[in-house]
Symmetry: C2
């Protein structure tokens, strides 16, 4: 389907509550374990979502609106959450995610974007020319990619425990994310 | 990690609320679209989870406890939700899921399973001999496989809309589920 800003906002609004319902107060065996060296836990992913709220989607949309293609976005730090999450509980990260997301959606709504605004172009440091529409659709799809990743990381913890059922569980066959 | 019944119950308890937070009142463009012919939408998946609560995990655990390996579980109908979901809204299916799951977890808790109970064996019609521990771990991992699937189905709807970002979104590269 084509990008629809209202659909994007509907989804972006729901992700913090969905992750909160799934992860808050869950035993740490689910939330702090990862898939092996140099991979992320569910805790790391929530930290990454917070770092993305601070430095990726809305900040880049601001740049696009201000500079167009004249100035490339700042590169995104894929390990930026490590410092930011230090000393915080998962509960604190989930609270932060809800707050940051809500503030960012308030800003997005305040822009009152029209169809022609969505066609404005900016410059991604690696992907080249992108539109504001693509950026906002990717913000929503990025939530889904990390929900997808969290469910895979957690399922990985039961890889042995499920015994012969591993054959039937698609999540255990997913190789959708090469690096975190 | 090894199977831990408390961890399994913690996860099983949270899934209905997580899906409710993600899906309730979301535009139908997200929830009723699938990935092409003979695939499921998020709506179909919630129906499948309900059908599984009715006919798969707890009913099979009951059989295992009653008959051991002497009688194989009933085969599971992978399209059984089609009839059951007919005429129901997604909101109704989500309500049903919360109710069925809660009833099934009440029954599981009432069994007061000890470590040796978890080692009891039953017979899966396709997978052969399985333990109660494996069955219950698979119930939890099955929630995760379908959360994984729902996030992939929904991301698929924005495959075009994200433009060049599709390269960076792992969920768009997932081939973890061959059939629904």
């Amino acid at each position: 389907m084509q990008h629809d800003l209202d659909h994007t906002i509907s989804l972006l609004t729901r992700t913090p509550a969905a992750l909160n319902a799934l992860l808050r107060d869950l035993p740490e065996e689910w939330t702090l374990r990862n898939e092996g060296e140099n991979t992320w836990s569910a805790y790391d992913v929530v930290g990454h979502l917070n770092h993305s709220e601070r430095t990726n989607w809305i900040p880049r949309a601001r740049m696009l609106r201000q500079f167009g293609e004249a100035q490339a976005f700042e590169p995104f730090d894929r390990w930026g959450q490590v410092r930011e999450s230090q000393g915080k509980s998962l509960g604190q990260l989930l609270d932060e995610f809800a707050r940051l997301r809500s503030e960012n959606l308030d800003e997005l709504r305040a822009w009152n974007l029209r169809r022609e605004d969505l066609e404005r172009r900016g410059k991604h440091p690696a992907l080249g020319v992108v539109t504001l529409s693509e950026l906002l659709a990717s913000w929503a799809a990025h939530d889904l990619t990390h929900l997808h990743q969290i469910s895979r990381i957690m399922a990985h913890q039961y890889r042995e425990a499920v015994g012969p059922w591993s054959r039937n569980l698609g999540v255990l066959k997913c190789a959708g994310h090469s690096s975190p």
